[in-house]
């Protein structure tokens, strides 16, 4: 009655752009923690093995330290790990795997599936049919030979592959590393553990993408899970349990502000997000000067609260109202400048005019505050 943990796409060694240095470092750190979490879960759920379906490493040439840390993170689970090279860490003549071996970083219980074939885990009575990528890109189905692989009698047949199930994922029709949709059935597999798709996704009752254990982009919102797969006996339908493993939740809001209540709603939504959120805001439409002030204040609060907050406001126009201008005491020719900037911003979608207007409003506000004191 074998039971194992299915994970994939750790992408270790990835650095995060579009973040502040500190936030990027925390996100990297979270990925190591995710691996530790996996090991812990495997123990908690009494798993017989952990199968990693490709892209353990984000690149071939990651630092020695990263290699060592990845294997160190697996320590908590002493049972067998089977790691499959994916498109990011293909088993080339020289690869991150050969380096790991040279470094002596690979523990005894970690099996590297560097050759296509079957890894039989005797005590666990598991046959892992491996389709590692040995080239950066493959245009043929590497799981094709699975049908021909013989496995010992009574062993559970588990396929381990990295690629795109053909015809299911519209975005990746022409993608490399294709896998036939009916592979599990065709090759008499009890379960086909797949990697490459970063969100958790079921293909059929025996075929799953586990997704990455820690999200690393704003798309694929089903990311941040691991799968516990329980196969009661060879041939039986596996029972698959989804376990959350991610630390941070990535949220991307694209909002168009038109009226005051739009802004209020947005601020409410932000307010509702947990502190472990990584937030990307893209705002369009227009906002009054008072509205912008409120927005800036809210963003400042949110920045401190969330792991990371980025807000793209270049598409958001400033629409100063009469009250705004009166409040700023932008009289005389300064008032004319405010007006002129406003017109330019609207007429030609001029970012510079928008920024200039924001700066001017800021300066005037400051002056008002000083005068107020």
């Amino acid at each position: 009655m074998p039971k194992f943990l299915h994970t994939a796409d750790w992408q270790m060694g990835r650095a995060f752009t579009r973040f502040e240095t500190e936030d990027g470092a925390a996100l990297v750190e979270a990925r190591f923690e995710a691996v530790e979490t996996l090991a812990k879960l495997a123990n908690e759920h009494h798993c017989d093995a952990v199968l990693v379906a490709g892209d353990v490493f984000d690149a071939q040439t990651v630092s020695d330290r990263t290699i060592r840390r990845v294997f160190n993170a697996t320590k908590a689970f002493a049972g067998p790990w089977v790691m499959l090279p994916g498109n990011h860490d293909a088993a080339l003549a020289e690869s991150v795997w050969t380096r790991a071996q040279r470094l002596g970083a690979v523990p005894e219980n970690v099996h590297l599936a560097l050759q296509p074939g079957v890894i039989n885990l005797e005590p666990e009575r598991l046959s892992i049919l491996c389709a590692p990528l040995t080239q950066r890109h493959t245009y043929g189905d590497l799981t094709e030979p699975f049908s021909g692989y013989e496995t010992p009698e009574g062993f559970t047949r588990i396929g381990l592959a990295h690629g795109s199930i053909q015809g299911l994922l519209p975005d990746e029709i022409d993608s490399t590393n294709p896998i036939a949709p009916k592979r599990a059935e065709a090759s008499r597999l009890d379960y086909l553990a797949l990697g490459d798709w970063h969100g958790t996704k079921q293909i059929d009752e025996r075929t799953w993408y586990s997704g990455t254990p820690e999200p690393e982009r704003f798309r694929n919102n089903e990311a941040g899970n691991a799968l516990i797969v329980d196969v009661s006996e060879p041939g039986a339908t596996p029972s698959v349990t989804r376990l959350p493993t991610g630390r941070y939740q990535w949220h991307q809001f694209r909002e168009t502000l038109a009226v005051q209540s739009d802004l209020e709603q947005l601020l409410e939504r932000l307010n509702d997000l947990p502190e472990s959120a990584v937030v990307d805001l893209r705002l369009e439409g227009s906002v009054t000067l008072a509205g912008e002030e409120a927005l800036l204040k809210a963003l400042s609060v949110a920045e401190a609260r969330f792991r990371s907050l980025r807000c793209e406001r270049s598409g958001l126009q400033l629409a100063p109202t009469e009250e705004d201008i009166a409040a700023l005491k932008a009289d005389g020719y300064v008032g004319e400048v405010v007006e002129s900037l406003h017109d330019r911003q609207e007429g030609a979608q001029d970012d510079t005019a928008r920024d200039a207007l924001a700066i001017l409003a800021g300066l005037l506000r400051e002056r008002e505050q000083e005068a107020g004191q």
């Binding site: 060694g13 690149a59 040439t61 003549a93 380096r99 008032g335 400048v337 510079t352 920024d355 001017l360």
Partner: protein, 881 residues
């Protein structure tokens, strides 16, 4: 705004209350001498408005030495149909009260109200300075600053604009200029004057480029790494395949086969070479036999030619022998001619010798003769000399003494003559038979005697006559005469002569003898300069030489006088010629002899040769040899034909085996083996190299580095982008603000210009003064003159300053703002004509503004048409009050 009354107390020299009352709405002329408190009044007005009542920096207001004073100013003025009363006290009693109509303000509120009304600021702390004065700074002209209009306008700045707001329709902005400055300073931290990035912005731009470079480099290295990985994969596959197939072994086998085939051909080639050598030997042998045969057959031909040679030799010899007599004859002739010439030459030589000797002899004889003659003459001259010397010796007399004697004689003569003149003369003529004696001396015949002494004349028969000469001198004359006679006698004796004549004679003889000596000596010297002995010696020498010459001549044979003897030169030439001729004849003869013997030798050789051949030709061995050779030749030719056929066969065999291709095959297979092995070795080496390299590169974690770098670039770019946008925005904002502000200024320019022109036309009818964008009077033009106001003379600048201020006052008045003009001792640098114009201007301005004109020269302003206020007089009133 009209100031109506002012009162001050405990302020500088005004310790008591001082009131200036009844101020007019137009022009007010306030005068007083220096120190009278004129400036204090101005200071009081300024303090009342500008200084904070609670300021501690107004010590200058305190009367000297009065620490308990509370300087107080009270001002009443009307503005906007309201009466304003300001009371301000400083230092000991800090207070400010303002009553406007029915409303009261106090302390700070009162001060703010005033500042707002007039348009100025208070200092944050300390005394009020020019930059705080705003509009009053422009209209209240301090002593000696009338020309400094620019500063004042700058300080009035925003106050002016906001004051003028109503005129230009609310376009000026409160604090707009500060805003511009803030925007400018923020912009300038990011951009240079010309809009280039600077500071952080510039650094980010550079950093970004740097990151991009680094990323490119990393990408390049990753790319290289991947290439190497691919290469490693391919190499590993190739290496394994080659190890399995071992293609170099095939090549090795082919190589060995080719080598075996080639060795076979080599053997054939060796045989061929040997046979070729044999063939060559046979050919050589054949050639020799042929030569022998030809030699033997050629003997008779040779004999004939030898015979011809012999004949020719003999013929040549005969010809040469025939020439012999002629040659010998020529030789004999030459020899005879030579001997003759030799004889002739000897004769000529002899003759020449004799001639020379004879000549010598003649010369010597002549010489000897001359010497003898000289000797004879010398002896003769010597004798003459001796005689002359004798003569001289005999007649030696001192010429000086003779001279003296002569003088004495002549003296004596003179005396005698004189005595005769004085002497008594006795003449006589006696008859022949008369016998008379004078002084016992007979007198006969006729005669005369002079008598100097007493004389006795005896006449026989008659007796004796005594005669005594008369005259007194006679005695002295006689004494002198006697003395002279004695002297003469003495000298004569000395000279050893009897008379003067004798002395003269002797002197003459002596002198002639001296001359003779000299003459004889000269003559002697001409013939015997070295003396007679030398001459005698010379004579004997000449004689012996002569003797010798004679002997020589005698010993020389005398030529035959019959023979014609040529000159020696001719003889020599003939001799040389005949010698050369003889030499040639002799050498000809020798050449002829040697040729003869050579010809004889040739003839003998030819003969011997001919003989030898003739003998050989006839020998039987030769016939035998000839036959043998012919047989040998025939055998040899047959063998050669066989050998040639064999050679040709083998040649074909070799050619068909294609040895050059075999050789190339060997090389090719050898290369292939080497190359295949080498390739595999290289693969092995490259595999190891790449592995090592990849291990090293892999350890650097290139892609992770790249990822990190990209993250850094991204961050840098974002920050850059932010700053870029900010810079653009600030730039735009600054441009817009400046633009709008300029537009505003331009709108204010026109009315100001109008007022300015109004005043300027009074001062300079043809001139114009342009107002610049800062609303400052700028370019001044008058006729063809054009320049900045700052370039004018001090007096003109002051006038321009004043009319500008008045123009501003007009502008402010139109905007409904208070305009009080205070001029403290102004226009002191203007000439009277200009001052006159300025008075017209002031009078005109005073119809719109209240003007306080303070001066210490009231006489200059007396034609202003207003009653002057005398401070001194007012002081008195003050005291009275």
């Amino acid at each position: 705004m009209k100031l109506q009354r002012m009162r001050i107390e405990q302020l500088r020299q005004f310790r008591k209350s001082f009131v200036l009352d009844n101020l007019q709405s137009g022009l007010n002329l306030i005068h007083g001498p220096n120190e009278s408190g004129k400036s204090t009044l101005v200071r009081a007005i300024r303090a009342a408005f500008f200084e904070r009542y609670r300021s501690t920096a107004v010590d200058d207001l305190r009367p000297w030495g009065d620490s308990a004073a509370a300087p107080t100013i009270e001002l009443d003025f009307e503005h906007d149909n309201c009466i304003w009363r300001l009371t301000k006290s400083f230092l000991q009693r800090k207070r400010c009260d303002l009553v406007v109509g029915t409303e009261s303000y106090s302390e700070d509120d009162a001060e703010e109200k005033l500042a707002e009304l007039l348009g100025y600021q208070y200092p944050k702390r300390g005394a009020s300075k020019a930059e705080h004065w705003g509009i009053p700074g422009l209209l209240w002209v301090e002593q000696g600053t009338g020309q400094d209009i620019e500063q004042a306008i700058e300080h009035a700045g925003d106050h002016l604009k906001s004051a003028l707001n109503s005129m230009v329709g609310e376009v000026a902005s409160s604090g707009g200029d500060d805003l511009i400055e803030t925007v400018r300073s923020q912009r300038d931290t990011l951009l240079t004057g010309t809009g280039k990035p600077r500071g952080d912005y510039l650094k980010l731009e550079k950093d970004r480029t740097q990151y991009q470079l680094e990323i490119e480099e990393l990408k390049e290295r990753v790319h290289k790494y991947q290439e190497q990985v691919d290469r490693l994969g391919k190499l590993a596959r190739d290496y394994e395949q080659a190890e399995a197939e071992r293609p170099w072994e095939d090549a090795q086998r082919h190589l060995e086969e080719a080598r075996a085939r080639y060795q076979k051909v080599e053997r054939l080639e060796q045989e061929q070479n040997q046979e070729k050598a044999t063939f060559a030997q046979q050919q050589q042998n054949h050639r020799l036999l042929q030569q022998n045969k030809e030699h033997l057959e050629g003997l008779s031909r040779q004999l004939e030619s030898r015979k011809a040679v012999l004949d020719r030799a003999e013929h040549d010899l005969d010809l040469a022998q025939a020439q012999t007599p002629a040659v010998t004859g020529r030789l004999t002739e030459a020899r005879t001619a030579y001997e003759h010439a030799e004889k002739q030459r000897k004769l000529a030589g002899l003759l020449q010798t004799r001639q020379r000797l004879e000549q010598d002899l003649r010369r010597l004889e002549q010489q000897q003769q001359v010497i003898s003659q000289n000797l004879t003459k010398a002896r003769e001259y010597q004798q003459q000399l001796e005689q002359a010397r004798q003569q001289a010796r005999e007649n030696r007399i001192e010429s000086e003494l003779v001279k003296k004697l002569r003088a004495t004689g002549s003296q004596l003569n003179e005396e005698t003559i004189r005595s005769q003149t004085i002497a008594t003369r006795l003449n006589w003529q006696l008859d022949a038979d008369a016998l008379l004696s004078l002084n016992n001396e007979p007198l006969v015949g006729q005669g005369e005697q002079q008598l100097l002494e007493e004389s006795t004349l005896v006449i026989p028969g008659v007796g004796t006559l005594g005669i005594t000469p008369g005259g007194e001198e006679l005695a002295s004359t006689r004494r002198k005469l006697k003395a002279l006679e004695e002297n003469l006698a003495e000298q004569l004796m000395t000279l050893g002569v009897e008379s003067l004549k004798q002395a003269e004679d002797r002197l003459s003889a002596f002198e002639s003898a001296e001359r003779a000596v000299k003459h004889a000596e000269d003559l002697f010297k001409t013939v015997a300069p070295a003396g007679i002995e030398q001459l005698v010696y010379e004579q004997s020498e000449a004689e012996s030489e002569l003797e010798k010459a004679r002997k020589q001549l005698e010993s020389t044979p005398k030529p035959d006088s019959n023979e014609t003897v040529p000159t020696l030169e001719e003889a020599e030439a003939a001799f040389n010629q005949s010698g050369a001729a003889l030499d040639k004849a002799e050498s000809d003869e020798r050449a002829h002899q040697s040729r003869l013997s050579a010809l004889k030798q040739a003839r003998d050789n030819a003969k011997t040769e001919w003989q030898r051949l003739a003998d050989e030709e006839k020998s039987p061995e030769r016939q035998q040899q000839l036959r043998q050779i012919t047989t040998d030749l025939a055998n040899l030719e047959k063998q050669q034909a066989e050998l040639e056929a064999s050679l040709e066969r083998r040649e074909r065999e070799i050619r068909e085996a294609r040895p050059e291709f075999l050789k190339q095959d060997i090389e090719r297979y050898q290369n292939a083996v080497n190359q295949l092995r080498q390739t595999q070795e290289n693969r092995g080496r490259e595999l190891r190299d790449i592995k090592v390299r990849l291990e090293a590169w892999g350890a650097e974690g290139l892609e992770e580095q790249l990822n990190e770098k990209e993250a850094e670039l991204d961050q840098c770019s974002r920050r850059y982008e932010e700053l870029h946008r900010r810079a653009q925005a600030l730039d735009l904002l600054l441009n817009l603000l400046t633009e709008k502000r300029q537009a505003l200024t331009r709108r204010l320019q026109a009315p100001l210009q109008k007022h300015l022109n109004h005043y300027l036309s009074v001062l300079f009818p043809e001139a114009s003064l342009e107002v610049d964008e800062q609303l400052r009077p700028g370019t001044f033009s008058r006729g063809s003159e054009l320049g900045q106001i700052t370039e004018l003379s001090f007096g003109a600048r002051e006038q321009m300053g004043l009319i500008s201020r008045l123009a501003y006052a007009d502008l402010l008045r139109e905007a409904g703002r208070p305009t009080l003009v205070i001029l403290d001792d102004t226009l002191v640098h203007s000439d009277s004509e200009r001052l006159e114009d300025m008075k017209r201007i002031l009078f005109d301005a005073a119809s719109r503004h209240q003007i306080l004109l303070l001066t210490c020269h009231p006489e200059k302003w007396q034609d202003l048409g207003v009653p002057p206020v005398d401070i001194e007089a007012s002081k008195g009133q003050g005291i009275l009050e």
